[in-house]
């Protein structure tokens, strides 16, 4: 595909006017005068009253035109690319090293070209998100005296726009053969003399007054331009590889020019339309006039004044340069050196000009510097008999090393490059800019020096594409390998930009949207989601927030099992009024947790109406009934005293009794007890043992009988919180023989409550989004019925669109599920944990637990990430507990992505949610 080169025909306009007009003359169009009016009189030009001379517009920029992703100046052309973001945090070192090597090799393929790196930031596209989210969401109807859906969306957008640096844009401009630019301009002038100025690429070059000459030029220019086309295609290919560069689009080019010409000003949330990729010279007025740049003599900053969001704004922008670099170790110790300031709140931008030196150039340069050093050493020792400074000998050795590296290393990463790296630090005042500059210096200390110098205005101009280098001061020389360690395009790649804004990135504050069902629907991944963390790490807060957002935005059916009580208050949120119900299981009707009713028989009508449907139905019915029998036997086994439970005959007797009464859902445990009493071989003894614990006066009444109706309303209850408050979980580190009756009873009741929640999934419409949240994973994973339930979760959640959140304190509880129960760590990957697409890990302090949590997150252990888990949510005051507004930080693994995130429920529209989930009893007023 040939590239459009129409824009250079504009070049001559500038050439003509630049000689006669000051550069900031504003173009005005004069009245149109028809030249034919004068032809009729026989005069070529009127003596008076002719067309007024119009001052052509000449931008103050070096840019003269843009064609597609090519930016033309009078000195040459630069092809601009937007580089794909790359994940960095929580990655294995070998992955990072491979990425840096591939970037270095890509750079090495662009020798002797000036490269212009530009790193910029833009706010979160909140308006687009809100529009998409509104289309996707099925919110609950607005309630009186509650935050309406519209207010909710507005609040979410306001919250998302608090950070000016939500999205990182990394652009790379690659110089296309500079020497040929004059050909474009010359051919354009000849074309325009021919009078054909209105059509596309070089369309008029063969027409005109001198067709023969034009034809010669046309062929010559054609050949040159075809050669440039081939060159651009080659650069495109290199950039599309490891760097993930795509030719910059029209909106991105506009964004780049806006962020450059209005350097430091607040970013526009709504950009002007960018309908075309071609910019003529006069079009550049759109960005040229964006801001006025001034600076006082030798001032430390440049003042940029312009308008943003309809208001006059002035920013003080300090331009710093990277100074001398010491020895760095990326990724072992140091961050990629162009991402170090990312952690600061200020949207610090980068502009770097660099080129990879051809080998012969680099060798010549090294020989020259080595000769200088040797001459200096000779001057000391031979000419004056003095001891040369020791650093001279060290430099000679270094030069030899580098030359040897160049000669022997054939990977391409030893190629040398040179460049200038500048940072633009914007602030509202000069003092604030200087303070941020100090922070940047401290961040780089002691490995890399950060320098500030005079000529701030000219240095700031470097950030604009096409502008020349202001000064050769602070030139950096390094290998391509060293340059590749900059990795400026690292960013957080997590979330799906689809659902509610639940999280923000811990590193940059970028809002992260997550729709719990999007990946399940589109990528067929498991919805089983462990949430791991110590006490107070925010597990319940996360579960409650996800639940409330799911109900609020998606109208999802949410069932939460709440052992301690705070989640009940979610049902009192005014926004969920009429759609939420809290049920205390201890107050529920008798038979609510009847194990026979926990598993629902399949419905015949859901199968095909033919013999194959019959077969499938009977098979599933048999499976269900067997599972029901197993559940009943398991519950009864748990209710037996530990000493009796170990008897080998127990399982046989229980199975016999259950088989006697049948496997249907219309039975209950009293029938099993009766059957046991008439079973020979010890059945009577078992029935007697079960008698005390199955007393109808205690919580055991939940197991006996059949409830008349469900405890929830299938039509209206979107949020159902099943509270098990009052049950006494067994004490840890106490032998089961020493458990009290309450403790012994509580375990099967907790399990059956989970089964009850899961039964709701089967009864709801299959296509409806569902979310279940279970706390106390530890108790679920202790017994076979609990593990069976989790296996069921893992197997069925995708088919029923059920996102299952299981919270626990120890990752080992998840790791041992479905895998090697002996605790052998090598078996982790084959277990249930490997199926989990999403995992959240909060603060974890115990060393063994940290290692397990990293294994669950599929993060390499033993390289320092353990300590990071202990620092999550570290803003908590040790005596105050987690404040309602304190960030709950988690490491979130979602498929291949893994990032540090924090739960974000700031904003007035989340007042109710924050209060409901505040676990601080004193503050909550409990």
């Amino acid at each position: 595909m040939s590239r459009a080169w129409a824009a250079p025909r504009q070049l001559h306009h500038f050439d003509l006017c630049a000689r006669s007009q000051p550069p900031d003359v504003v173009a005005e169009s004069g009245p149109a005068v028809d030249p034919r009016r004068f032809r009729s009189t026989g005069r070529s030009r009127p003596p008076t009253g002719g067309a007024p001379e119009v001052a052509e517009y000449a931008p103050r920029l070096a840019l003269r035109a843009i064609t597609g992703h090519l930016a033309h100046t009078r000195r040459g052309t630069t092809a601009w690319y937007r580089l794909a973001p790359r994940p960095w945090s929580m990655r294995a070192d070998q992955d990072r090293e491979a990425m840096m090597s591939s970037i270095g090799l890509a750079l090495a393929q662009l020798p002797d070209r000036w490269l212009h790196w530009r790193v910029s930031w833009r706010p979160y596209p909140a308006a687009q998100w809100a529009r998409r989210h509104d289309e996707w969401a099925t919110p609950l109807p607005d309630q009186p005296a509650a935050t309406s859906w519209e207010q909710h969306l507005v609040g979410q957008q306001q919250r998302a726009l608090t950070s000016p640096k939500a999205i990182k844009d990394v652009y790379l401009g690659v110089e296309i053969n500079r020497g040929r630019a004059w050909i474009s301009a010359l051919a354009d002038q000849m074309t325009s003399r021919g009078g054909d100025r209105g059509r596309g690429r070089w369309s008029g070059r063969r027409s005109g007054r001198w067709p023969g000459l034009q034809g010669v030029w046309g062929r010559f220019v054609d050949g040159e331009l075809d050669a440039l086309d081939d060159e651009i295609r080659a650069v495109d290919t290199v950039l599309s590889g490891a760097l993930g560069g795509e030719p910059i689009s029209a909106p991105d080019m506009l964004q780049l020019l806006y962020r450059s010409c209005a350097l430091g000003l607040p970013a526009e949330t709504v950009m002007p339309a960018a309908p075309t990729t071609d910019w003529e010279t006069s079009d550049l007025a759109a960005v040229d006039q964006l801001a006025r740049w001034t600076a006082d003599p030798y001032a430390p900053v440049v003042q940029v004044s312009g308008t943003a969001a309809g208001q006059r704004v002035t920013r003080h922008v300090l331009i710093a340069s990277l100074g001398r670099m010491g020895e760095i170790d990326v990724p072992g110790v140091d961050l990629p050196w162009m991402t170090v300031p990312d952690r600061l709140a200020a949207p610090i931008e980068w502009s770097a000009r660099m080129r990879v030196l051809p080998d012969e150039h680099a060798s010549r340069s090294l020989r020259h510097v080595a000769a200088r050093v040797e001459a200096q050493q000779r001057h000391y020792e031979h000419d004056h008999g003095l001891h040369a400074p020791p650093d001279l000998a060290r430099r000679i050795e270094l030069a030899a090393q580098v030359r040897d590296e160049l000669d022997t290393d054939h990977t391409g990463l030893s190629a040398r490059c040179e460049g200038w790296w500048r940072l633009a630090i914007p602030a509202t005042t000069e003092r604030a800019a200087l303070e941020t500059f100090d922070q940047v210096r401290h961040l780089y200390h002691p490995k890399i020096a950060v320098e500030r110098c005079e000529a701030q205005y000219q240095l700031a101009r470097e950030f604009i594409p096409g502008e020349p280098l202001a000064t050769t001061a602070y030139r950096r020389r390094m290998s391509v390998r060293h340059a590749a360690m900059a990795v400026p395009m690292t960013a957080e790649l997590i979330g799906d930009d689809h659902g509610p804004l639940v999280f923000t990135s811990s590193a940059t504050g970028r809002p992260i949207a997550w729709d719990p069902w999007h990946d399940m629907d589109t990528r067929q991944v498991s919805g089983l989601t462990p949430i791991i963390g110590t006490l107070g790490s925010g597990k319940t807060f996360l579960m409650g927030t996800l639940a409330a957002q799911a109900v609020r935005s998606a109208g999802a059916y949410v069932t939460l099992l709440d052992p301690s009580g705070p989640l009940i208050r979610l049902t009192e949120l005014p926004e969920l009024r009429g759609h939420a119900r809290a049920v205390s299981l201890l107050d529920a009707p008798a038979g609510t947790l009847n194990p026979f009713t926990m598993i629902t028989d399949p419905q015949r009508r859901t199968y095909r109406d033919d013999p194959s449907g019959d077969t499938a139905y009977r098979r599933d019915l048999d499976t269900t009934q067997a599972q029901r029998a197993a559940l009943v036997i398991s519950v009864l086994t748990q209710l037996l005293p530990a000493a009796i439970r170990r008897d080998g005959q127990v399982q046989q007797l229980l199975l016999h009794a259950v088989n006697q009464i049948g496997h249907g859902p219309d039975h209950d445990l009293t029938e099993v007890l009766s059957a046991l009493r008439y079973t020979s071989g010890g059945g009577d003894r078992l029935a007697s043992s079960l008698g005390p614990i199955l007393s109808t006066s205690g919580p055991a009444r939940l197991l006996l009988g059949t409830p008349e109706q469900e405890i929830w309303s299938a039509g209206t209850d979107r949020l159902l919180v099943l509270s098990t408050r009052g049950l006494t979980p067994p004490r840890e580190d106490v032998d089961q023989q020493d458990w009290s009756l309450d403790e012994q009873l509580s375990l099967p009741l907790l399990h059956l409550a989970a089964w009850l929640a899961y039964r709701r999934v089967y009864e709801l419409p299959r296509a409806a989004p569902k979310l279940m949240g279970f706390d106390e994973l530890r108790w679920l994973s202790m017994t076979s019925t609990g593990r069976t339930l989790i296996t069921q979760f893992a197997r069925d959640n995708r088919k029923y669109r059920a996102r299952v959140l299981i919270a626990g304190q120890l990752a080992s509880d998840v790791l041992k599920l479905g895998g090697d129960k002996s605790g052998d760590k090598s078996g982790d990957e084959s277990g249930l944990a490997a199926l989990c697409h999403d995992v959240f890990v909060g603060r974890t302090t115990d060393e063994a637990a940290q290692a397990d949590a990293l294994r669950l997150l599929r993060i390499p252990t033993g390289i320092g990430y353990e300590a990071h888990l202990g620092e999550l949510s570290a803003t908590t005051h040790p005596t105050a507990g987690l404040a309602a507004d304190a960030p709950r930080e988690f490491v979130w693994r979602s498929g291949e992505a893994c990032e540090g995130v924090q739960l974000d429920v700031t904003g007035d529209h989340f007042d109710g949610l924050r209060q409901a989930l505040d676990t601080n009893a004193a503050r909550a007023g409990d």
Binding site: Q303, R372, A455, T472, R476
Partner: protein, 152 residues
Amino acid sequence: MIMLSRSDDELYSVQGRYLGPPGRTLLWQARYIAYVIWAGYAFVFVVVRQQLSLLPGLAGYAVVALAAVIATVATMRHVSVERPPSAVLAMFLAELRTPRHTPPPSPTVAVSDPRNVAVHLSVPHLPAPQVSGSRLSESRLSGPDLSGFWER
């Protein structure tokens, strides 16, 4: 692959010093570039001295040499490996070309709003001007009081 990496900064940071002719070590040590800058300053100062006819005689040359030394020392404070003299000069010139912030000029002619003058006139049957109260009060304070004139 070893990822510990260093730049070539140290390699290129050599600053050549001229110690003097072989075997005759000078009392001072200065970079080669300092001598070049000194020569430049000395030439300029000599021309200036010659044009202004200042300090005739050998003493004048001595003063020029000393002044050049002082200027060179001052200049070399801004010159380093990171900031070669050409870059320092370029940045100096860039500072000269930098646009300066100029406050907007104060108005030289004040045009009063006719309504501010009219509001205070007690002319019957004229509709009251539609202006805000604050503007009225300002006009009362600043405008001429003509009520007595009209009543007369």
